[in-house]
């Protein structure tokens, strides 16, 4: 502990005057169905949440001033009766089950956490006298896939950073299937505070070119697609893109992206090698 106080002493102006009750120290854990991140595509679904507060101070009890997960509390979670004290090595765990009848309910929950997307990722915040720890667990609401039987299961996943000719950084992340009729498509592009979110993949063309996707051998290395989506929250925007996988690491992979707003004006045009990240074709 002595080393810690020495370190705090070095902080100078940042912590001058901070109360000496630095002794409290807590951490949180949050899981859903035993994991940090789950996907649900079969409905009705059951979500078993586990929230935990633990005292990690080595020698002193710690007082939990607040421990809250507002989204779960809106759904009926009783929450933690704060404040309370945890002894050394002490922890308190609570569980809560949410039943999700269908995809629409799942998407409604996803929107209720404040972000319009397909993910329920509300946070659990634990506060003590001068600090807080924040934990999340993700539930992605996914439409059911195509019916069993012969289908094109090929897909490409990945993401990374590219730059426009003007030097603007653009990040993209995606999970795209070569069968455009498959509803399980996801693509997001961000740049300079802007966001494009794919709502519907219109066309998909998975091509086997002279590039080499290496492992796994997928039988294609280039995904060419078009779609419609939401640009800065406004639906009706369109996107054209080409993503390539030229093996690992992803420095030889490329991305070409053109986004047009609902009026047809090009708001993003970029074609570049990945600065970081990777594209991966899957058989």
């Amino acid at each position: 502990m002595k080393a810690f106080w020495i370190a705090v002493g070095c902080l100078g102006g940042f912590v001058a005057g901070v109360p000496t009750a630095f002794g409290h120290e807590l951490e949180c854990e949050k899981e859903v169905n035993g994991a940090s991140s789950v996907e649900i595509s079969q409905f009705p679904a059951r979500l078993d949440y586990r929230l935990l507060v633990r005292n990690i101070h080595p020698t002193s009890p710690s007082v939990v001033f607040a421990a809250s997960d507002p989204t779960l509390e809106e759904l009926g979670f009783e929450g933690f009766d704060t404040p309370f004290e945890l002894p050394v090595d002490g922890e308190l765990e609570k569980t809560f089950t949410v039943r999700v009848p269908d995809l629409a309910a799942c998407l409604e929950m996803a929107a209720a956490d404040g972000n319009i997307d397909t993910v329920i990722d509300n946070v659990f915040t634990v506060r003590w006298d001068i600090g807080r720890d924040i934990c999340s667990a993700r539930v992605e609401c996914i439409p059911e896939g195509p019916p069993p039987g012969p289908n094109d299961g090929r897909r490409m996943t990945g993401g990374g950073s590219v730059f426009t000719e003007e030097g603007q950084r653009v990040t993209h992340g995606f999970q795209l299937r070569c069968d455009a009729t498959d509803t399980r498509q996801n693509l997001e592009v961000n740049w300079a505070g802007n966001q494009f979110h794919l709502l519907d993949l219109s066309t998909a063309d998975c091509q086997d070119t002279a590039l080499d996707e290496e492992q796994p051998v997928a039988g294609f290395d280039t995904f060419v697609g078009t779609g419609i989506g939401r640009y800065n929250g406004v639906e009706g925007a369109t996107i054209e893109f080409t993503f390539t996988d030229d093996g690992e690491p992803g420095v030889d992979d490329t991305a070409r992206i053109v986004v047009r707003d609902v009026g047809g004006t090009i708001v993003l045009e970029v074609e570049d090698d990945l600065t970081f990240g990777n594209h991966q074709a899957h058989p």
Partner: protein, 164 residues
Amino acid sequence: MNKLMMAVVAVVVAGCGSSTVEPYGAKVLPYELRMGGAQVGEFGKVLLVPNAIQISADGVPVQVVREDKTVNLATANHAERIASFDLPEGAKLITFRVELGAAGGFEKGTASGWVDTRGRVLEFDASADWVRHQRRAGVAIDLTRSLQWVDEATYTFVPKYRIF
């Protein structure tokens, strides 16, 4: 002292002597928002891009100057400034919202790849008195707990972080 506490302290210490170099004359406001990593483990690089930053005082947006940069959370003992902001007189509660770009990157040993950060948002609040006193707010992301392995070239980011 536990490892996370040490890491957070290290991040804060690094923040004292910022080495972030901004273009000469770049506008900087009086208060800083910083982001760093803790519990780095075996990661050589963990790169994230803050795409949008909103800061409000008692529900009213304040002036923010966002820094367009990639943050390497695996950089030991360093929390990078990702924005500076102003605070109005009399403000009580400051709310921070950092929207990440769609993808990050990682290097771990000989492996590298992308970090799925689609739709990820870091949100927290702090009292204005606390922010004024420190002249900054910081986020220390626990990398060991936040990065979930998907495959050799992919991690997904499930944020677990501490405010300092």
